[in-house]
């Protein structure tokens, strides 16, 4: 268990040090990976790594409840949501890393380094020789860590708690409103659909069947029209698109006539 390690925080604790350094390195690596990955899905996975490590650090800091919440809410729910949206938006699109805003990248790096250096410097200056009080006393007051958290949440921060509940409800409503797609025209009825089919000059009934001869029943043969020509639309569209349409062949007609007159021998030489 990790929790007992944390309870003796005031002393130099080798176990905690090992945990800290491992998780710290992993979480920073995750953060950098998140920022530097070309693909958004990779970024999400790197972030999940960071968050799990942060959960471990919470536990190490005597906050097992928050650690669990971190894993369940963040790594579970929030990252799930991120991945879901990524799937909606298009998972395979990788970002180009060429900066489009002039000077943005250089200025960003300079400023961010400034923030980082100043923060670290400031913290380092102000927190020299600090030691932790530890939460043993605070936890013991109400008979345990969870009880302590519950006490704080439901007494001191009750109003905030309620407000946050309202925020969550509002956020759910907002998400619904935003994601809702308004229908601008009424849903077309059967009558409308039928009318649409007849008004745009389409073929009202079934298309003519392809040419069917007794010898074979091929959909790739066009039907014959009364004037001796062929009907293009009698051949199904995909067949036409592939170019597999069979051209009209007088031999076939002869063949059919011969069959219908009882001649059994086929004029094989007529075929190619």
């Amino acid at each position: 268990m990790i929790a007992p390690l944390a309870d003796t925080a005031t002393d130099v604790n080798v176990g905690e040090q090992i945990v800290f350094w491992v998780t710290a390195i992993l979480s920073v690596a995750g953060a950098l990976g998140m920022v530097l990955s070309r693909k958004a899905v990779h970024s999400a996975l790197w972030l999940a790594l960071t968050m799990i490590n942060l959960a471990i650090l919470y536990v190490a800091n005597s906050a097992p409840f928050l650690g669990m919440v971190q894993v369940i809410v963040y790594t579970g729910a929030v990252m799930m949501l991120f991945l879901f949206v990524l799937m909606v938006v298009g998972v395979d699109s990788s970002d180009s890393l060429i900066e489009t805003i002039k000077g943005q990248r250089l200025a960003s790096i300079v400023f961010v380094l400034g923030v980082g250096i100043l923060l670290v410097w400031g913290i380092g200056n102000s927190m020299v020789e600090t030691s932790s009080v530890g939460l043993d006393a605070a936890n013991a007051e109400h008979g345990g860590h969870i009880e302590g958290i519950a006490n704080v949440l439901f007494t001191q921060y009750l109003l905030v708690f309620e407000l946050v509940a309202a925020v969550l409800i509002t956020a759910a409503m907002g998400a619904m409103v935003l994601a809702h797609r308004e229908r601008w025209t009424p849903r077309p009825s059967q009558r409308d659909l039928a009318r649409a089919r007849f008004t745009d000059g389409g073929h009202p009934g079934n298309l003519p069947n392809p040419g069917v001869y007794a010898r074979h029943n091929a959909v790739d043969t066009p039907a014959l029209l009364p004037d001796g020509g062929t009907s293009d639309i009698s051949v199904p569209g995909p067949v036409r698109a592939r170019g597999d349409e069979r051209s009209f062949d007088r031999v076939d007609i002869e063949e059919v006539r011969a069959i219908s007159e009882g001649e059994t021998t086929l004029p094989e030489e007529g075929r190619e």
């Binding site: 800290f20 972030l47 704080v152 907002g174």
Partner: protein, 99 residues
Amino acid sequence: MNPENYIILSAILFTIGSLGVLIRRNAIVVFMSVELMLNAANLAFVAFARINGNLDGQAVAFFVMVVAAAEVVVGLAIIVTIFRTRRSASIDEPNLLKY
């Protein structure tokens, strides 16, 4: 173990998060960077709670998580809406609101 380390780790993560906000163009990644910054702050809260020996910091971290969850819901809905109209999740794409 000096608790200073946790705070410095928090600062480093925060800095990396802000870098991500500034240089990434994919809105979802930018959002992840914001989440990273929030988590970094949470780490600081938790560490301070332990340093000061009371549970208020943890309570605040808890609220931060809840609000962040709400924010993610709304933010991602906005991204989806924008994506629906513009076919792009680039944060530079919606830039009509300018001079």
